[in-house]
């Protein structure tokens, strides 16, 4: 227990951890603040104003339509040749503007809908905190390896797996703590934005449960990324190993595989791309469609479908994370510390 507390203290004392935490808080606060200015509460006056604007636009459009017909008739009287090209058939009399073509909603300012839109902001939050967890996780163990701190610690606690496991636990605990605390503030901030500058309507118990599950999946992804970064940096015994691996995974998954499946015309090629699983993790499912067999000339086409669910994502991302963690612990057990 003392080692775990020590590692928590060590992690908290690190300048990079503090700097990244400050940047994370400032970044999240900045996003929430900026977003709050873009949302406007739709009061009765604002709605009435939008309705009046839509009505005025409709009336103006009818006036313009009538003028256009009159101009067309004058041109016909003069015997102009290009009347149909300029005004359409029958001088455009068939194109009379309709009231429903001027929806008052188009004249309304943007209003944040907590129920509909907060899940997207959970993904934004998860991305920011996952980046924090990645950098903190990788640098915590990477710097320890690079500067001899790991060796120093092993002279005190010559139990390699216990030491590595404790350091990992410290990284995950810190990431979890940051996720929960900042997540609570993030939710509160958007709830307040919804309350005072948007809407929090239809927030039933089921809606809260759904948001809670989204939050849990976000925390899961943050811990996975933090743990994987820690494991990669430990494998390479340098922070740069995790950063390099991240770039490599991105390059291979998002560029090379996309090109390869495109060239080879692989069915549902996106199922081999990692970001598909990250997306499915947040949106619960991603539907992949294969239009290649469609012959649109013969009418409507129902393309082949492949559904990637968040459970599939859990399997793929979980196996990937477990693989690097097992490799890191195996290397810790087997490799010399020179």
């Amino acid at each position: 227990m003392s080692l775990f507390v020590t590692e928590l203290r060590r992690l908290a004392k690190r300048r990079l951890t503090r700097l990244l935490l400050v940047l994370l808080v400032l970044g999240l606060a900045g996003v929430a603040t900026a977003f709050s200015f873009s949302s406007h509460k739709l009061s009765k006056e604002v709605v009435a104003q939008a309705q009046a604007t839509a009505d005025a636009q409709y009336r103006q459009s009818v006036e313009d339509w009538k003028k256009s017909i009159a101009t067309c008739e004058a041109a016909q009287a003069r015997g102009d040749q290009d009347i149909e090209e300029r005004f359409g058939p029958n001088c455009g009399r068939d194109w009379m503007p309709q009231p429903e073509m001027f929806d008052p909603k188009w004249s309304l300012p943007y209003q944040f809908d907590f129920r509909a839109e907060f899940p997207m902001f959970i993904a934004v939050f998860a991305g920011a905190v996952a980046l924090f967890a990645f950098l903190v996780g990788a640098s915590f163990i990477g710097a320890e390896w690079a500067n001899g701190g790991m060796m120093n610690l092993l002279l005190w606690r010559p139990k390699r797996l216990a030491v590595l496991g404790t350091k990992l636990a410290a990284v995950l605990t810190t990431s979890l703590g940051v996720s929960l605390v900042l997540g609570a503030f993030w939710t509160l901030a958007f709830w307040l934005i919804g309350t005072y500058r948007g809407t929090t309507a239809k927030m039933t118990a089921g809606a809260w449960q759904s948001i809670g599950l989204d939050g849990l999946r976000a925390v899961g992804l943050i811990l996975l990324i933090g743990g994987a970064a820690f494991a990669l940096a430990s494998l390479g015994r340098h922070t740069a190993m995790a950063l390099g691996a991240a770039v490599a995974v991105f390059g291979i998954s998002e560029v090379a595989i996309r090109i390869a499946v495109g060239v080879l015309k692989v069915q549902f090629g996106d199922r081999y791309v990692l970001s598909t699983y990250a997306q499915a993790w947040f949106t619960k499912q991603v539907e992949l469609l294969d239009y290649r067999a469609c012959e649109f000339a013969k009418g409507e086409c129902h393309p082949a479908q492949l559904l990637i669910t968040w459970q599939d994502s859990a399997l793929v991302l979980g196996l990937g994370g477990a693989a690097v963690l097992i490799a890191a612990f195996w290397a810790m057990r087997r490799r010399d510390i020179a």
């Binding site: 003392s2 080692l3 507390v5 020590t6 203290r9 060590r10 004392k13 690190r14 300048r15 710097a143 500067n147 001899g148 701190g149 060796m151 120093n152 610690l153 092993l154 002279l155 005190w156 606690r157 010559p158 139990k159 087997r334 010399d336 510390i337 020179a338």
Partner: protein, 337 residues
């Protein structure tokens, strides 16, 4: 005496497709008695640090036996780790942590009382700078901090790799005094260093390693005596008598190693009085008869064959290879190859 540290036949082999097989430790033996300050010497790349790392569980050996305080390693390492303080090479510290933070974290990990941190800071002379960030420290101050970290758990065995590295002359003297005080308090100290003058001053005994094998070991005086080769310098009252003196001594079975214009150098002389008597019998009168003392540096250079040769650039692995263990060379109680 009780052995605090025992190593027998330790082997560590590195295999590489590019560089082939290299035996970093090739049947290395070492024994350190309780309460001693023991010097561990060897040229660069001879296996000193590999030995220390293997002993401390950082490197997995390919064979051999190790024990600290009677406990077999590496199995019992977690048991004895609390009684072994060590610095291996120059440890680095987080530059933005203070010395007090650095030691405090180690003390917490080792479940030691917080006051011990202040005690060791006082001991190594960092008390007044303990709150400053390590990045502001000089090399010598970092070295003091490293020694402090090794002393933190009041070890029975202290292993220090180049502790005087970067220390100023005053610091070196303080370190020497500290080692002596620690040994006097019952602590056993293993000191790896290239400052052989210091080793000769501080250490009770030494082990010299070359290319992964022990080439000499034992109390410092005995190692020096064993390698002095009975060298004696002889001057006569009349320089012109030197050729006759050389002939007389050679006939008597004494090896004349060098004939200089004003003196002779003799080797293998057990009793210098014999030389005086033999020459006096021939009417040759000695004006100086001096046994030539050797120092640890010359013994080290001789044993490891690392003395500089004019016009040659010695490579790191070009040092003495001793015979296979058990086929001549150093065995228990001897003085190396």
């Amino acid at each position: 005496m009780t052995a605090v540290l025992e190593i027998e036949g330790l082997r560590k082999t590195y295999r590489s497709r590019k560089r082939g097989t290299r035996h970093a430790l090739d049947g290395f033996d070492m024994r350190v008695e309780a309460g001693q300050v023991h010097g561990f010497l060897g040229p660069n790349g001879s296996g000193k640090t590999t030995t220390l790392r293997t002993l401390l569980g950082l490197i997995r050996p390919n064979g051999g036996r190790m024990a600290i305080l009677g406990h077999e390693l590496p199995q019992a390492l977690p048991t004895v780790a609390g009684q072994v303080g060590a610095i291996v090479e120059s440890p680095q510290f987080f530059p933005h942590f203070s010395a007090r933070d650095t030691l405090g974290l180690l003390a917490q990990a080792g479940e030691l009382p917080r006051q011990r941190v202040d005690e060791v800071l006082e001991l190594v002379g960092l008390r007044d700078r303990a709150g400053e960030r390590v990045k502001t420290y000089s090399l010598g101050m970092k070295q003091r901090l490293a020694v402090a970290s090794a002393l933190l758990k009041s070890p029975k065995l202290l292993i220090l790799d180049e502790p005087a590295n970067g220390l100023d002359p005053g610091g070196i003297r303080e370190m020497r005094s500290l080692m002596r005080d620690l040994a006097a308090s019952g602590m056993t100290v293993v000191l790896s260093s290239h400052i052989l003058g210091e080793i000769q001053l501080i250490c009770d005994s030494v082990t010299i390693i070359s290319l992964g094998r022990r080439v000499a070991f034992g109390p410092v005086e005995q190692v020096l005596a064993a390698h002095s080769h009975g060298t004696v310098r002889v001057r006569l009252e009349a320089v012109t008598d030197l050729p006759q003196a050389a002939e007389t001594l050679t006939r008597a079975g004494i090896r004349v190693t060098t004939t200089e214009p004003d003196h002779l150098m003799l080797g293998g002389v057990d009793k210098p009085a014999t030389v005086s008597r033999l020459l006096a019998e021939q009417g040759l009168y000695v004006s100086e008869l001096t046994p030539v003392a050797v120092d640890l540096e010359s013994v080290f250079l001789e044993l490891t064959a690392t003395a500089p040769v004019p016009g040659q650039h010695r490579q790191v692995d070009e040092s003495t290879r001793v015979a296979e263990p058990g086929v001549g060379g150093s065995t228990g109680g001897g003085w190396g190859a």
